[in-house]
């Protein structure tokens, strides 16, 4: 079992519905976000290429955030989901400093918070909130270890990239390009 995501950059329109769905589903405090939209424009006018991505924690295979946590609050749960136990977090910020994607933030209640792949929904067989609301169906969530899952098929048949592979974190969110 290895949860992961495939996100189709050709289908994403950057509507931010995933961001709002996440904030509502997970009671993310006002002014914060666990996922976000990044737009890149590359090239020189008039030869411009645009890419729109929905980004979040990459639930990496090699997790610097878990490694640097001094209390063990940051941990990897079943299926490779990276989570923070709020009661064990002292808010030292080591995991925030160690994340090349800056995917974590200090919750105003004094602990570090991040994307959980909506594991409370996944447990019940549902997709994460961001995936379930996407109006263009550009996100696929599932088990990367299962070759028959939709996400595995997308990763196998399409050209993919991960973010900052040079950071050596082995991200498990694949962008279809």
């Amino acid at each position: 079992m290895r949860y992961g995501m495939a996100i189709d950059t050709k289908k994403c329109v950057g509507c931010s519905d995933c961001v709002v769905a996440c904030q509502t589903e997970n009671n993310v405090p006002h002014g914060y976000s666990r996922d976000w939209i990044a737009e890149t424009v590359e090239g020189t006018y008039p030869d411009l290429a645009m890419e729109i991505r929905s980004e979040r924690c990459n639930h990496c295979d090699n997790t610097p955030c878990v490694r640097t946590c001094p209390t063990g609050a940051s941990h990897v749960t079943e299926g490779g989901i990276v989570k923070v136990t709020h009661e064990e977090c002292i808010g030292c910020g080591a995991c925030i400093e160690s994340c090349p994607y800056d995917a974590r933030y200090f919750h105003p209640d004094g602990y570090v918070d991040k994307c959980t792949f909506c594991d409370h929904r996944v447990k019940n067989g549902q997709d994460p909130a961001c995936v379930s609301v996407c109006p263009t169906h550009c996100m696929y969530f599932g088990d990367l270890d299962d070759p028959n899952s939709e996400v595995s098929k997308k990763v196998a048949t399409r050209k993919t990239k991960v973010l900052a592979p040079e950071a050596g974190t082995k991200p498990q969110i694949f962008y279809l390009i």
Binding site: S16, P64, T68, P70, E97, S98, G110, E166
Partner: protein, 336 residues
């Protein structure tokens, strides 16, 4: 020229537009930790080499300042935590992968060992019970009895026994202290270098560099503290040597960055023409290393130099070095 423009909708406080999760507390703590490591290293070192009679200030008073620095540093660390009431969770686990976990334990051990050290020298350092402040007097009287106006003793028998034990085994304590001081000094650098997400910090040389800088600030403070001319001169020589080593390490740090991947080349550019150039070269290199180095070299050539000048400059350079590294390290990031 191909250019890439990235816009992100994320605006998390303390994370965007650039990371500033760590503020003044961490660099202050790194400075005080390094200073304490330096002070304790020299205290232990001169006991091991049997030169304590020449280095009275180092051995007797240095560790007192070191413990004070550790306590203030720990206070700063506590202020940095977003949930300070949970700090004790650091001590419910040992995580070998996490430099911060190492640091928490090393700081605890160092505080205990330096407290024992101070206790074993307390009678020599303060032969008279001259405390005038009322509540301090009462506090000290819990463990201390005043024998007459010129001497005092521990109130409890076991404290007297422990003092004797600590005094008899001084060399063993010194070894423990030197090892702990080196770990503490290296750790202040490793804390930063363990984050591969921050290209500026992710350099293995930061450990030895921070240790050298810590030893140098420790030597500078001892040079200011001591009234003994021989001790002063010795530290001015030690500091000169450490300054040269530090310059060597800093050169190597930048050489390493420039010969590395794109993000690290960019990290180095911030200091070689970029926005941190003036702050870094003026405060750390010129004021903190080169000028005190020249002053100390002049002193060796028998010029009269008031030690307070190079001493303060070295301390200033050491502190600015940590503030700049922590600040710049957070600004410089991976772009994808």
């Amino acid at each position: 020229m191909r250019e890439e423009l990235i816009t992100s909708g994320r605006m998390n406080p303390l994370i965007d537009p650039y990371l500033n999760a760590w503020h003044w507390q961490i660099p202050l703590y790194l400075f005080l930790g390094g200073l304490a490591a330096g002070l304790l290293f020299f205290a232990g070192y001169f006991i091991i080499t049997g030169k304590e009679s020449k280095y009275q200030t180092t051995v007797k008073y240095g560790p007192i300042v070191a413990l004070g620095a550790i306590i203030i540093g720990l206070g700063a660390l506590l202020l940095d935590l977003k949930h300070p009431a949970y700090f004790w969770q650091l001590y419910t686990t040992i995580r070998f992968d996490s430099p911060m976990s190492w640091g928490a334990w090393v700081l605890l051990l160092t505080s205990v060992v330096s407290a024992v050290w101070i206790g074993s020298y307390l009678k020599e350092a303060f032969p008279k019970f001259g405390c005038k402040i009322g509540f301090m007097r009462k506090l000290l009287k819990i463990v201390i009895v005043e024998k007459d106006t010129n001497s005092w003793d521990w109130k409890f028998n076991w404290l007297q026994k422990f003092e004797k034990y600590a005094q008899d085994k001084r060399k063993a304590w010194a070894w423990v202290m030197v090892v702990l001081a080196v770990i503490l000094g290296v750790y202040t650098g490793i804390l930063l270098s363990a984050f591969n997400a921050r290209p500026l910090w992710n350099s293995a040389i930061l450990g030895p560099l921070f240790l050298t800088s810590g030893l140098s600030t420790g030597a500078a403070l001892l040079m200011i503290m001591t009234k003994n001319h021989i001790e002063k001169l010795a530290y001015s020589r030690i500091d000169l040597l450490l300054i040269v080593i530090e310059l060597f390490f800093i050169t190597h740090m930048f050489m390493g960055f420039l010969a590395s991947s794109e993000v690290k080349v960019e990290a180095a550019q911030h200091f070689l023409g970029g926005d941190y150039t003036v702050t870094f070269w003026l405060n750390v290199i010129i004021l903190g290393l080169i000028i005190p180095g020249i002053l100390e070299a002049l002193e060796l050539l028998k010029f009269k130099i008031p030690v307070i000048v190079p001493g303060i400059l070295i301390l200033w350079g050491g502190m600015m070095f940590r503030f700049i590294m922590v600040d710049a390290g957070q600004v410089i990031r991976y772009l994808y």
